[in-house]
Amino acid sequence: MKKDFSLEPSNMPGVDVYIKALKEDGTSYPNCSNHSGDLTLQGFCDAANALIEPFGKALEKAREISSANR
């Protein structure tokens, strides 16, 4: 780069390559898949009612282990 180079918006040699890549389709940020349905409150309640017992037993064990580690 010449010693008397001064950066300006209009004076950025080589930037065109990057702008061209930015505007190109198919080379953009990766996408994630969508979920097929809506999560519902009924579904949540059904899951919660089914899981509370095994979760509760695991939690009691977890709290026992934590207490023993203190």
Binding site: D38, L39, G43, A48, A50, A62, S67
Partner: protein
């Protein structure tokens, strides 16, 4: 696709539902703890905005996967800690895990919702009933309380459980 208002209302109800179920079974002492209205609102609003940002970032045009919702709402609950002690002078909070328990249980229930048969609820229950889950849950609660993590890294924890339950 659901509106932001519908998503936020659903999450207020699901967090509240998880809280009263946990309290009803004695896992959160309702005599000592309450679910604060304003902190719950902050939690859900923060989650809603983060979810929108996530959808934009990853080009998710419709609904996000349950494990993404679970990871982000768990992080929001941990950020704002809506379960508060009723007594501000309660000196026995050092070993408390009420917010972590609420966040974990709520997140797992979101992941277990049966949509198009992709999550086998009996399989999830069976997985949760394994004796190793107590140790795993202890470590997960410890991570939520004391560890460093991002919302997206929590998504992976829920994602693993959701995949094993298929």
């Amino acid at each position: 696709m659901q509106t932001d208002d519908a998503i936020e209302e659903k999450r207020v109800k699901s967090i509240f539902g998880a809280f009263i179920l946990l309290a009803g079974k004695g896992y959160i002492d309702r005599n000592r703890f309450t679910l604060n209205v304003s902190l719950l609102k902050l939690t859900v609003k923060h989650y809603s905005r983060n979810l929108k940002a996530l959808k934009i970032r990853y080009g998710i045009e419709d609904n996000a996967q349950p494990q993404k919702a679970a990871g982000f709402i768990t992080a929001a609950i941990m950020k704002f800690r809506p379960v508060l002690p009723k007594n501000g002078s309660d000196g026995n909070l050092f070993h408390g895990d009420e917010n972590e328990v609420l966040a974990a249980f709520h997140g797992f229930c979101i992941c277990a919702e049966q949509i198009d048969g992709k999550i086998d609820l009996p399989q999830v229950v069976s997985l949760w009933s394994k004796p190793e889950f107590g140790e795993w849950l202890k470590n997960f609660i410890y991570l939520l309380r004391f560890g460093d993590y991002t919302a997206e890294s929590l998504v992976l924890s829920f994602d693993a459980l959701a995949r094993f339950a298929k």
